[in-house]
């Protein structure tokens, strides 16, 4: 039977790829839908409130309700809008965001990789830079001032932050010596060091640029509700609005997945080479058991019988699943996907966390951060990385490389800080204005 499967895969590669694509698409849609719920819930808990509680137990079915509502809403096209552009803009956003997932490796086995392009990294950068068209064209086509301003802002913002993000990626490229995402993870596996430890500065730059490119707080200027009502999608409603919404959350998942692949070792367990931490291998079943326990605890306190039994069923399901996962063979098979997902979720949590914590940058300050800080830092990082690699020569010792990189990163940070200086360019203007 196993041989049959192998035969099937070999005979119909396109069909298998299509099946994988469908699976990834469905799972991703689910993740995105529940990401919205998770964001609302996490934000709510950080803000001393409960979040959605109505649809299903703890609002668990809220995404379905939201989706249904948006589907059934009227699709309004403003008068004077450029109809064709207005209609295709959100589609561009979503397609660009989803397409990139084709090259993300979810695990080491070929079953978990849709395709391994040898220019995977370039493909990622290229396709994800297309998403901006959805935003610019959508804002322009609405024939309205706020959306136009929103799309202008996001055009400037995305172009500016793509540069540091790209340069941070180049640092990874130098360290890993490949453009293939699979090879990048494999390089981290073989060296036993995540790129995060070799490129801490690069990771920081990438993370900041990623937040900016997904238009998330504190860089959510293109849709800053207090300034531009809703920015580029002010005039959108119904399903097209939902598409934009989906695109935003998909890109969040995307940049998190990318950061995980590039810097956090993709599907690798943390410190995979340290035997003392092997107990971490049992985390998948243990976490499932914990989920089961928590759900069961809340199920007992739920007053609605239907919800109660649903939750009990969920708890039981998780427990059973934990049992299945605990089987040694399965546990090894599940490891990669578990760690990949866990890391992506950790980054996604950070996205939500920023939103609860930070005020929003102003447009010029955003440009300042991008051009005056991130780009010099990224450039310096690139040069320093190249120098260290040249100095270390082929196959350097792990610790040697780590400390050399750390020192180089620190040096770059200090030099850039000194050069750029702490003085904000507005200070002079203020002095002029106040005469002090």
């Amino acid at each position: 039977m196993f041989n049959d499967a192998v035969q099937f895969v070999e005979n119909y590669p396109l069909l298998v790829a299509a099946i994988k694509i469908v699976i990834v698409f469905l799972v991703l849609s689910g993740v995105v839908a529940y990401m919205v719920l998770a964001e609302r819930k996490v934000l709510a808990f950080m803000q001393a409130r409960l979040g959605p509680m109505r649809v299903g137990p703890w609002g668990l079915f809220q995404p379905a309700a939201d989706g249904l509502k948006l589907l059934l809403k009227e699709d309004i096209i403003p008068a004077g809008a450029d109809k064709f552009v207005f209609l295709i803009a959100p589609v561009i956003s979503v397609v660009a965001a989803f397409t990139v997932f084709a090259v993300i490796p979810y695990g080491p086995s070929s079953a978990l990789i849709i395709t391994d392009l040898n220019v995977g990294l370039l493909f990622v950068v290229a396709v994800s830079s297309l998403g901006i068209y959805g935003i610019i064209l959508g804002g322009w086509a609405s024939n309205s001032h706020y959306p136009l301003l929103g799309s202008l802002r996001s055009a400037a913002q995305l172009v500016s932050y793509e540069i540091p993000a790209g340069m941070a990626i180049v640092g990874v490229l130098l360290v890993s010596n490949s453009l293939s995402l699979v090879k990048i993870v494999e390089a981290q596996q073989s060296s036993g060091l995540w790129n995060f430890f070799l490129q801490p500065l690069g990771f920081l730059i990438f993370l900041i640029a990623a937040v900016a490119e997904t238009n998330r707080n504190p860089f959510d200027l293109p849709e800053a509700e207090s300034e531009l009502t809703a920015g580029f999608h002010t005039e959108y409603s119904g399903f097209r609005f939902a598409l934009y919404f989906m695109a935003e959350y998909t890109s969040m998942v995307l940049v998190s997945a990318l950061a995980v692949v590039l810097f956090w070792g993709g599907w690798l367990r943390p410190f995979a080479s340290v035997a003392a931490l092997d107990f971490l291998n049992y985390l998948p079943p243990v976490s499932l058991l914990m989920i089961a326990g928590v759900v069961f605890f809340f199920a007992r306190r739920n007053p609605v019988p239907a919800e109660k039994w649903f939750l009990v069923a969920v708890a039981a399901g998780s427990a059973v699943l934990a049992g299945v996962v605990a089987v040694p063979v399965v546990i090894t098979a599940v490891q990669p996907i578990f760690w990949f997902t866990a890391k992506v979720f950790a980054l996604l949590y950070a996205f939500i966390w920023y939103r609860a914590t930070f005020p929003r940058y102003r447009y010029d300050q955003l440009m300042n951060v991008g051009w005056r800080w991130l780009i010099p830092l990224a450039l310096g990082n690139l040069i320093a990385t190249a120098c260290v690699l040249w100095w270390a020569g082929p196959n350097p010792g792990r610790l040697k490389l780590f400390f050399a990189m750390l020192a180089a990163n620190l040096a770059v940070a200090i030099v850039v800080a000194l050069l750029v200086g702490w003085r904000s360019p507005t200070a002079a203007a203020v002095e002029k204005q106040t005469g002090s």
Binding site: D82, N118, L122, A126, W140
Partner: protein, 169 residues
Amino acid sequence: MLAQSVFLILAVVALSSGVMVITRRNPVHSVIWLIVTLFSVGGIFLLQYAQFLFAVQIILYVGGIMVLYLFVIMLIRVETVAKQAPYSRQWAIGLGAVLVLACELMYGVYKGVESFHLGTPSRPPVDMNNTEAVAGVLYNNYMLPVEIASLLLLVAMVGAVLMAKKRFE
């Protein structure tokens, strides 16, 4: 065969969208069609196993330069521009350019089919991917031109910054 037909499709798309670029009155539509053109050309690169060129084409032209085009177009009032006739007093120049190109084309046709030969896609060696090949060519064979070009671009950039700075003070 498949490659040939894909090439034909891409070529037709590239040419027709190129025509659309210059016939649209609305500059934003022109830019959209230009993006389609660039995509089709990128597709042709891909057909030639030049993945690196394809990626660079998309990243730089589609992802960067076209965005800036749009940025500028949106800053000026599109409605007024759309009312003006697109290439009003340049018929003579246009005609001349077309004539020159036509001559070139005729010469090519006259020279024979060989000049249209696409050439067999040059598969790079298995142990070396496209990107490395490009890098090797650029930084080993043409080091000096690359450096000169980059210096030139740097000068242009500094100049642009300087001009913009003057503008705001």
